[in-house]
């Protein structure tokens, strides 16, 4: 209210709207609070408080059925010498590398094919189909198709004199297999994200390229890929953060085996908390996972921002 210096006589006249406005903006604030109340409640109770509690738990030896005591950073010290943890880290990183490798290359290929060849929503829908089906369903389906004895994949491989391969049952195949299965599920989704980025690239650039005599191949490397960088960075954040948390497929197919070969970090946390009832330690591992994912997201979002100008 900047119009306070008014003559006494004029005060009621010009003051009234100001007061009314303030009252109405007060009322707006209250209504707004009412509107966001359930959301804020949900945030505080199921996001904020659990986050703080998780940090707190990671400093205890909480085990469900025995007395709990504060152990400081002991859980984190234990991590340093926990071979299963480091193995889980290694396995997870191996999974992430394979999954992201398959997925990004194939998704860019698929997105470019879709973009160049057809505007059919039906085709885009078909490639998205696996993404809509539950992880558990996908895991069971491939568990059957990749069965060592009578699975169709091994049947087909046998026509070429290959196999049989125990996809889920061998230490070297378990993680690549899970990475492949999840690539199958997510490929369409990732491709459509990239497709959305392709649509934003101005058509005139391609026309100019064609006038200059550039081949499709050159246009892909010189126009498409550079302009896609911000979208690719975003897609990478999503897929890396998502694939670090692989759980469902492992839980349904290999349960971490054989011999810890597929005991990824999230399955290890689940195992610690609910099988070994070592809740405090499990919390510490989940804090480490949080930190890793935050760093990845932060770094990648910074990279994305650095490249943002490309599309401007």
């Amino acid at each position: 209210m900047t119009t306070t210096a008014v003559p006494a006589a004029g005060a009621p006249a010009s003051g009234a709207p100001a007061i009314a406005r303030r009252a109405s903006s007060n009322r707006e604030t209250w209504v707004a609070l009412g509107f966001i109340l359930p959301t804020v409640f949900g945030f505080v109770v199921f996001y904020l408080w659990p986050s703080l509690r998780g940090l707190g738990l990671s400093l205890t030896d909480y085990q469900f059925f025995s007395d709990t005591s504060f152990v400081g950073l002991a859980n984190y010290q234990r991590l340093l010498t926990d071979e299963t943890f480091w193995n889980a880290m290694l396995v997870t990183v191996w999974y992430v590398v394979l999954n992201i490798g398959f997925q990004t290359v194939l998704a860019v290929l698929l997105a470019v094919l879709l973009h160049r060849l057809t505007r059919s929503v039906v085709i885009r829908g078909l490639v998205l189909l696996p993404y809509l089906v539950a992880n558990v369903v996908v895991a069971l389906l491939w568990f059957w198709m990749l069965d060592a004895q009578i699975g169709i994949v091994n049947q087909v491989l046998s026509w070429f004199g290959i196999g049989p391969i125990s996809f889920f049952g061998s230490e070297s195949w378990a993680i690549p297999t899970i990475a492949f299965v999840n690539t199958w599920r997510h490929l369409g989704y990732t491709a459509l994200l990239i497709f959305a980025g392709l649509v934003m690239i101005p058509r005139t650039l391609y026309e100019a390229g064609r006038v200059d005599g550039a081949s499709e191949w050159q246009m892909f490397w010189r126009i498409t890929l550079p302009l896609l960088r911000p979208v690719l960075a975003l897609v990478l954040v999503i897929t890396v953060v998502g694939s670090f948390q692989v759980f469902d497929t492992v839980a349904v197919t290999t349960m971490g085996g054989p011999a810890d070969a597929s005991r990824v970090i999230q399955y290890y946390i689940f195992d610690l908390a609910f099988e070994r009832l070592d809740y405090g330690y499990a919390s510490a591992v989940s804090v480490v996972l949080l930190v890793i994912l935050s760093v990845i997201a932060f770094v990648q979002l910074r990279l994305m921002r650095a490249n943002e100008s490309d599309l401007a």
Partner: protein
């Protein structure tokens, strides 16, 4: 924070820069061949799921690579749905143990339905307050909510499990639903984008007619935004339907077990040597069916929303 402002309702403006009037070139034929192969690899497992579900379990192993159902029978569906007698089930390689499929189906419908209703309703309220109302601290609160997008679910789910246990809500519908019921940052973000685009004049006209914010919201904004609201509901329903980790933690008991958890249990109980593959595939197919039906009915909405949901 994130800058994917694609308009979801608008049909994708996918002009295909590569599309030329000329006939097929070797490059285009090759590109189409690639696309067809990808689509086949995407769709074949669904066919194989159906083919196996319609096969007879006892003779399946003798014709592992038969392209048609082996010894065609509806038996697998009948025993999954609890319609087959013990003898019938065992004659076709099933275990004859009760599956309680209808209970799990009911649980999944109920849980996914409640979660979706809560997320969409409260999400819409909050999104309106963030998009259309002025109140102190609005942008800060919004930013804080969005940071919850970056927190990996497992980090909050361990402490949330303890909260549910302390409240006595483990193995109840409330326990399954509550953590997701009041908010997901995605719903708020998603709807806010649309509400931001609604013209002020419409609201001002309503204001002149004496409507307050609550009335404006329910009578004008919600009906106007029916498209995005349906899209959001679809996305959240599919996600809630497919959720595995949380229902596994708090809904392990038969009476509240959802389909995804039931499938995991079903798989864990099948004997290692000779699993009832037709039974498993029939169950996975039925578990995927609601999503497949939603996909057939609303495929375009789902496909169009993917470019947007890149912030997930």
């Amino acid at each position: 924070m994130v800058t994917v402002d694609a308009d979801v309702t608008a049909a994708p403006t996918s002009r295909t820069p590569g599309r030329e009037a000329g006939g097929p070139t070797p490059g285009r034929v090759l590109a189409w061949a690639c696309l067809v192969v990808i689509i086949l690899i995407t769709l074949f497992p669904f066919y194989w799921m159906l083919r196996t579900a319609l096969s007879n379990g006892t003779t399946l192993a003798t014709a592992g690579s038969s392209w048609l159902p082996v010894d065609f029978t509806w038996g697998a569906f009948r025993r999954v749905l609890g319609l087959a007698t013990l003898e019938e089930a065992q004659a076709e390689g099933g275990t004859g143990s009760a599956v309680d499929f209808w209970v799990y189906l009911r649980n999944s419908v109920l849980v996914a339905g409640l979660i979706t209703a809560g997320q969409v309703f409260f999400g819409a309220l909050a999104a309106y307050a963030f998009a259309r109302m002025r109140w102190p601290g609005r942008d800060l609160v919004f930013f804080v909510l969005l940071t919850a997008l970056m927190v990996p679910p497992i980090f909050t789910q361990l402490p949330n499990f303890l909260l549910m246990r302390d409240l006595g809500l483990v193995n109840t519908y409330a326990g399954l639903v509550l953590p997701f019921f009041f908010m997901t940052p995605f719903a708020v973000f998603f709807l806010r984008q649309f509400f931001l685009g609604i013209s002020r004049e419409i609201e001002e006209a309503a204001r002149l007619d004496g409507a307050g914010h609550v009335r404006t919201f329910f009578r004008i904004i919600v009906p106007m935004s029916w498209g995005p609201i349906t899209t959001l509901a679809l996305l959240q329903y599919v996600q809630a339907w497919n959720e595995y980790f949380w229902p596994l933690l708090v809904g392990s008991e038969r009476s509240v077990r959802t389909l995804t958890v039931a499938l995991g249990v079903f798989r864990a109980q099948t004997p290692q040597g000779n699993p009832d593959w037709p039974g498993l595939m029939a169950a996975t197919l039925i578990a995927a069916l609601p999503v497949l039906l939603l996909f057939i009915a609303f495929g375009r909405k789902i496909v169009d929303s993917i470019g947007f949901s890149g912030i997930k």
